[in-house]
Subunit: 555 residues, 2 copies
């Protein structure tokens, strides 16, 4: 028996998963939280843009979850021992850069910087650098349009350079103390491999791609002349970063004996290159040409692949088209919605102060409602819009409330808003020649929220499939490790053996589809008006059309 280990760092916890290579059976998994902050995230009540994490938490969680998963696997299958693990892979959130010293230690692990917010990991959903992002977009549009053509012509505040520049501006002492900056998905493998020089870290193309503006075509990272336009100090930093990023055909290294001992794993096994969670999630969900994988969780990430032999157009508003970012030999196309589960959590837990029972009762009530029956329409922008507007400075909107609007109606409207956002993404990538013939959804929401899945099918007019594994990201990381360890000849072969689909399919219903087409037209009207696409918007009919749809739906 050969097994592979996948480690998946989510926003609120880290999970380890032991998988059999021959049939994908999941022998054991374990989840560990992060000790610091609120649900593992350091926040600032005065600035909702701020979201950081304490890097030492990652190592605490790592030990706990790996040991837990190994113990669970041993319990499930007597033949399992840690010696059967042939390799391990890591995925994390991103772009989540971490400032490190010249020994590859996270600054926040040093007493001096421990509590400094700027010395922590800058979590993907940190939007404090929105001004820097806008300026990078401006400068690139003027001087290096090719840099941002591959990320929807807009550089994001969620990404590498915005965050580091913001640190330089607002916490120059931290910037000065940082020898280098490492994406979380590169840093964890580098720690596991015992790499003590940031220049020696094998960086993944996945995070480097559009997020750090890396591309082989222009010689790697942005050139120093361009970076000097931001700040000469960023140009200097370039020398302490990296020249070459790698796809998943390259290993991050091999497991160090120190970490082998800590985790109870064989030292020397290969550690796969780090990728971002959804990229490995796409692999774990069976991504291939023509398949769109949607990982639906706190936010949603959409991934598709196009053979590197084909020409891929730049797609406006699509945040990443990067060769090798997901599967070696393919362009990875990445899009996403900045908040999905987070919006429901906000509504149900924060505003309505509810618990699991309220989730259940609202789901039940909302399921009884007809499409259009509430007269409500929402925009899913509570955390900005990642695709297709690429604008974190947008916010949520709820329209059509009366004196009778219920919290269940609002819950359903919020689900529908995320479905409309999902449809906008599908339409955009198809418009630019990336076919979507099959949609596979993964993530907790895909499994646990049949109402949402049916609404997504009705709104998009597509059948929604569900990934077989509940831990698609960790599974994808394990698949990558299995390929790297030579168990399979390539990724498709490994995916065939190790990944699957659940039995359930959500199919679009014709009547609902018809109503949602009308609502989607209104959503697009609001989307374009508030998103700045249409600056001469006629909104005079929106509320009336909603009432008309409502009155029809009740007949």
């Amino acid at each position: 028996m050969k097994c592979s280990l996948g480690i998946d760092y989510g926003t609120n916890s880290v999970r380890a998963l032991v998988v059999r290579c021959d049939n994908g059976e999941e022998l054991g998994s374990f989840v560990a939280g992060y000790p610091s902050g609120k649900d593992g995230v350091l926040i600032d009540p005065k600035d909702h843009h701020l979201a950081r994490q304490h890097p030492p938490d990652y190592l605490v969680g790592l030990e706990l979850c790996v040991k837990g998963a190994l113990a669970a696997a041993a319990k499930k299958n007597k033949a399992f021992t840690p010696a059967t693990i042939i390799g391990l892979g890591v995925d994390t959130t991103g772009s989540s850069p971490i400032p490190v010293d010249s020994a590859n230690r996270a600054l926040a692990s040093l007493p001096k910087w421990k509590k400094n917010p700027a010395a922590q990991c800058w979590l993907w959903r940190d939007h404090t650098s929105w001004q820097e992002a806008a300026r990078i977009t401006e400068l690139a549009a003027k001087h290096r349009p090719e840099y941002i053509a591959k990320c929807g012509n807009t550089y994001s505040s969620e990404w590498f350079w915005s965050k580091i520049w913001h640190c330089l501006k607002t916490a120059p002492d931290v910037f000065q103390a940082a020898y280098s900056w490492v994406e979380m998905c590169d840093w964890i493998p580098s720690v596991l491999c015992g790499i003590e020089d940031p220049k020696q870290i094998k960086r993944g193309i996945c995070a480097a791609g559009h997020k750090a503006l890396y591309c082989d075509e222009w010689g790697g990272l942005p050139d120093k002349k361009f970076l000097s336009l931001l700040s000469p100090k960023l140009a200097e930093l370039r020398d302490r970063l990296y020249d070459k990023a790698h796809d998943a055909n390259t290993a991050a290294g091999t497991l160090s004996s120190t970490w082998g001992k800590k985790l109870g794993l064989p030292a020397g096994i290969p550690v796969a290159i780090g990728e971002m969670d959804v990229h490995y999630g796409a692999i774990g969900s069976g991504v291939r040409e023509g398949t769109l994988v949607k990982v639906i969780g706190t936010s949603t990430c959409d991934c598709a692949v196009v053979p590197a032999t084909k020409k891929v157009k730049d797609i406006p508003g699509i945040c990443g088209i990067v060769k090798g970012a997901i599967l070696p030999g393919f362009y990875g196309v990445e899009a996403g919605q900045s908040a999905v589960g987070d919006i429901f959590k906000w509504w149900i837990e924060s505003v309505c102060e509810g618990d699991a029972a309220l989730y259940a009762s609202l789901a039940k009530e909302a399921a009884k409602l007809q499409p259009g029956g509430s007269g409500l329409l929402a925009l899913d922008w509570n955390n900005g819009n990642r695709t297709v507007l690429v604008d974190p400075m947008l916010s949520g909107l709820l329209l059509g409330t009366t004196l009778h609007t219920t919290k269940a109606e609002i819950y359903r409207a919020l689900i529908e808003a995320t479905a409309f956002g999902a449809r906008a993404i599908i339409e955009r990538i198809e418009e630019y020649g990336v076919p979507v013939k099959r949609i596979v959804c993964a993530g907790g929401i895909a499994e646990k929220n049949p109402l949402l899945m049916q609404i997504y099918a009705d709104v998009t007019g597509r059948t929604m499939l569900v990934a077989g594994s509940s831990q698609a990201c960790a599974l994808g990381a394990a698949v990558s490790a299995a390929v790297l360890a030579g168990v399979f000849k390539d990724f498709p072969a490994a995916q065939k053996a190790m990944t699957s689909l659940k039995d359930i399919e959500y199919k679009p219903r014709a009547a609902a589809r018809k109503t949602y087409n009308r609502l989607y037209a209104l959503y697009k009207t609001l989307h374009d008006a508030f998103g700045g696409v249409n600056r001469q918007a006629d909104l005079s009919g929106v509320m009336k059309e909603l009432l008309t749809i409502k009155s029809h739906s009740q007949k």
Copy 2:
């Protein structure tokens, strides 16, 4: 000692008030609910436009509240006896027309019609006839523009003809059975005076005015030719309505011996002409030239008066400019917001499922927030927009939500939305030459919600005064009765003796005013875009401007 009795029919209950004529001292009052429906209102969960009341409930409530008030007065002042009551006045909601038979009995009091929704009183806030209202507006614009010039060029679904026409269309049996239709404010006095022929009822100019399109200039009610354009049956109905409507210098009649006995009052005392609640509320709050009275409750009504000797322009979007509608000898100018307290009630009681404790805690939290500090902006249209858009087919909007938005922030945004709506009304009437030099607020919210009052002062830039009586509407009805009974030579003399102001004043604060000016500009942008005033709206900056204001407010 001479006393006067005011009876105030609100949306959810009826109140009687005994007042001393010499000094306005309130000797006793009593409130009675209506037995039927939800909080006294018959509703239809399938049609949020429907709101009816069961007229026999009014008479049940009448006995209870009058007897209660007399008992309270006797307890408070030993010199008081019912014999000291020199007259009584009635105010009610409106336009709330009631179908009656030829003996002036409400149809709903007859077994056959008791449960028929169309045979009930069509409460002011019933909007089922929005299509009829739109058609009346269209027909009047084409054939009788003068009819609607005095009500903002838009006829409302809240008014007399829309409702009766809707009854004719949707419940022709009820229309056929109704000999006549009587406004609630005319019907209650007619019952008290024992009038058994609808043609003999003294109708008040207040309700007849713009609501029934009555004007002496064009010979009373709309001519039969115009009504025939709606339906020949409405033209026929005109003969069974009335030719002349009266201001408060005319009595509705004298108290019948039957009702004198029932209520324990001297038969034969004068009964003042019925007016709508806010009109008598304006009198009870000391309305005079240059004063705007805001009665802030479930909805808000604004009243001002202009001497009949002056020329008053027609004001677009202002729902009523009627000579004698409030004070004899003055034009009454009436405007309003379809929902104010109702919006807070919806949010706190219905969505948040809170009680009085939640009102208190949200008020406390909301008071700590800075203007603009939440980044939220709302439209106060959960029940449509009465002034200045005169459009019931509008709905509520909340914009600027993030993943951190709290229910207290939303509560404050809803208060602010109503304040912006209030400012739009003030600006509109001043623009057309009705000066607002002094604002007096009355109603439960004016007394109990200091946060709202301060926000209104900050948003409008005006000092908010508070009427001395907590029962301004009932007090105004009592003032009218006292003038009619000859205790005072005219209304100003009676108001001087019987009305007052509370000690508290809410003054605008410069810093808050500045921020609210920026927010109001955004409110107007949304208002005009969704209200159809601007059909080429640029909304691309709205969310960003809100975030800018938010970031400034937190510094």
